[in-house]
Amino acid sequence: MFYAARHYSLPFLLALSLHAAAAWALYQGWNPEKELLNVVKPQTVMASLIVLKPKAKAAPPPKVDVAQKQLEAERAKQAKADQAKVRKEAKSKAEQQAAAKAREEQRLAERARQAQADKQTAAELARQERLARLSELAATSLQQAIADESVDLQAGSEEQVLRSYHAAIYELVRTNWSRPPSSRTGMQARLQVELIPTGEVVAVTIIDSSGNAAFDRSAEHAVRLAKRFEVPQENALFERHFRRFYILFQPEDLLR
């Protein structure tokens, strides 16, 4: 007895600690198979992103171009004015003296113009800076929005994800559904559809018949013609919602 206790105490302790570790891990919610949700983003969200992106990026550059062109034009104008002034000075000093007053006035005007130009340049620069800042802000907030959105999805706004998969299934079945002429508004048939994780349809069973065999068969055909549905990669989600589900055929667009 003591012999056994002595000899097996180490393995016993090891086993105990291993169990404890396992228990702790389980308690902490450790899940060996858990992966990040690899979610196919719903079409609608993708669409809005595509619309937003070019707007934010495309808007600023042309404005910058216009500003630069304006600046260059300003500078060229100024240079021309300066040249004219130098030429005038070299031509005649007498004239210069005689028109001292006029020159003074001209200089004053020149200065005023210069000040005006400087002011314009400064304003232009400020505007540019503001634009740059704005576009940067837009870009970051967009990135933030994208990040938020994917966080939302990854955090499992499962409802939303399901809705997008259901919408895809709806669309595929609808476009494959040819109702027989004996169909009437008010008929309905419930079918159970079984899929394998690839999304392939492996079984279609009529659970509640419409009472019209042709109508039931048209519903079954709509599912069988679809053949394969887009399903979530994530195993748990697939098992919960897509391994087996119902489709209720309930026409509301028939003439009769």
Partner: protein
């Protein structure tokens, strides 16, 4: 004990919630494309001008609800279940497959059998066997088409039915001739019931499909005549002064509604065919014409201009209760109730052009079915899915068919003259 009950209740609610936790996707719309079907060439030792599969394919295509695959596009021509590979047919997007054979028996008898497969569910859903004489080659094909149509659509096929129409040649000339003809519903195998130098009008069928009534001018004025299809019986029913027109059998075949103007203006009368007694059912100074019966035989639908314009009215025979049915437009005439008693088919004038239209009497929505002009004399197929009418093509009268959902329209070729006044037969048994 209570604990056990509690456990049972818990288990039950768990099972319940599990069962209802399956997602349900609701499909409230469809596209209603024609159904792709493959009619493989029938294996046969009988020489015939046209293959059974060809006739069946043409019938089904004509209904507008099917899109038959051309035999040259098939990957194989299976003769038996062993030779059917569903994958091949799925690749061709065929939802259904028909295989069959026609074999000589003793005498001129032929045995025809076929099998209908649901390609998508990979199972046989129908098999039939018929024995016919060789002269009934086309009849067999129409019977196969009827059976396939009914199995897939849930509606009885009407390919074995016939049509009655008037063929006019040289109208308005001294050599004018008018012929009352009967043909298969696809326009084939026509034969003449009556040949006359005077116009023939308003031909219609008895509900058993064995007799017809029509109006001739053989006595110099309009006369209502009844005859049977094989020509052994023919009788003049009325020869009153004035108008004798629009004879229509009651659904039980015992009475005939008609228009007579013997007392002045045109009124609707009902003749008891056993006693030949007449009963006047409308009394109005306006024109009352074009009677037809409600499907239960208890009422008469007719056209009247008592409201100033031609509109369609319904009269309850037991109570004389009168009801106006049409209110859209200022010309609606020649109403015929569909088998469900809730839908009316009639001639409707819109923007001065005559079209065939139908109307849901409960929901009161009107749908124009035809895009041609001068459309007249609509006559419903007995299964209510198609209607035949007369129209004009380059100044010549032709017959055209339109499906009641408006999806399919086709013309029946007429190479011989003006065709008018079509009447679709009831179901013909045997």
């Amino acid at each position: 004990m209570t604990r056990a009950l509690l456990v049972v209740a818990l288990v039950f609610t768990f099972v319940q919630s599990y069962a209802s936790s399956l997602d349900t996707i609701i499909i409230d719309r469809g596209v209603d494309e024609p159904i792709r079907i493959a009619i493989a060439p029938f294996q046969t030792d009988v020489s015939a001008p046209q293959g059974l599969d060809d006739i069946v394919s043409f019938d089904l295509a004509r209904s507008g609800q099917f899109d038959p695959l051309a035999s040259e596009n098939m990957l194989s021509h299976p003769k038996s279940r062993q030779e059917v590979f569903f994958r091949d047919w799925r690749i061709l997007k065929a939802a259904y497959l028909v295989i069959g054979s026609a074999r000589k028996q003793v005498g001129d008898q032929i045995e025809v059998s076929f099998e209908l497969y649901d390609v998508l569910a990979e199972r046989q859903i129908l098999t039939r066997r018929y024995t016919f004489s060789k002269s009934q080659w086309r009849d067999v094909a129409h019977r196969v088409a009827d059976a396939v149509y009914e199995e897939i659509t849930g509606i009885r096929g009407a390919f074995s039915t016939k049509i009655l129409y008037v063929l006019a040649q040289g109208a308005g000339t001294p050599e004018a001739s008018f012929r009352l003809e009967v043909a298969d519903s696809d326009g084939e195998r026509s034969r003449t019931l009556l040949n006359s130098r005077e116009p023939i009008l308003s031909a219609s069928w008895a509900p058993d499909g064995k007799r017809v009534v029509y109006v001739t001018f053989e006595t110099g004025r309009p006369t209502i005549v009844m005859q049977d299809l094989n020509g052994t019986y023919r009788e003049r029913l009325t020869n009153f002064k004035g108008i004798n027109s629009s004879p229509v059998f009651s659904p039980d075949g015992r009475k005939l509604a008609m228009v007579l103007s013997k007392d002045g203006d045109p009124e609707i009368f009902i003749m008891d065919l056993a006693t030949r007694k007449l009963r006047q059912i409308t009394r109005h100074h306006a024109i009352d014409t074009e009677p037809s019966w409600t499907p239960d035989g208890k009422g008469i639908i007719f056209t009247s201009d008592r409201g100033g314009r031609p509109q369609i009215y319904q009269l309850e025979l037991a109570t004389n209760f009168l009801e106006r049915l049409t209110f859209t437009g200022n010309y609606n005439a020649r109403g015929r109730l569909m088998e469900d008693g809730k839908h009316l088919v009639f001639v409707h004038r819109r923007n001065g052009v005559f079209h065939i239209a139908w109307q849901d009497l409960e929901r009161d929505n009107l749908q124009v079915l035809t895009a041609t002009s001068l459309d007249e004399s609509p006559s419903l197929a007995p299964n209510g899915t198609m209607l035949i009418y007369a129209t004009q093509d380059q100044g010549r009268g032709i017959l055209a068919v339109v499906s009641i959902d408006g999806r399919v329209k086709y013309r029946l070729p007429s190479s011989r003259g003006d065709v008018r006044e079509p009447a679709w037969s009831p179901f013909l048994d045997g």
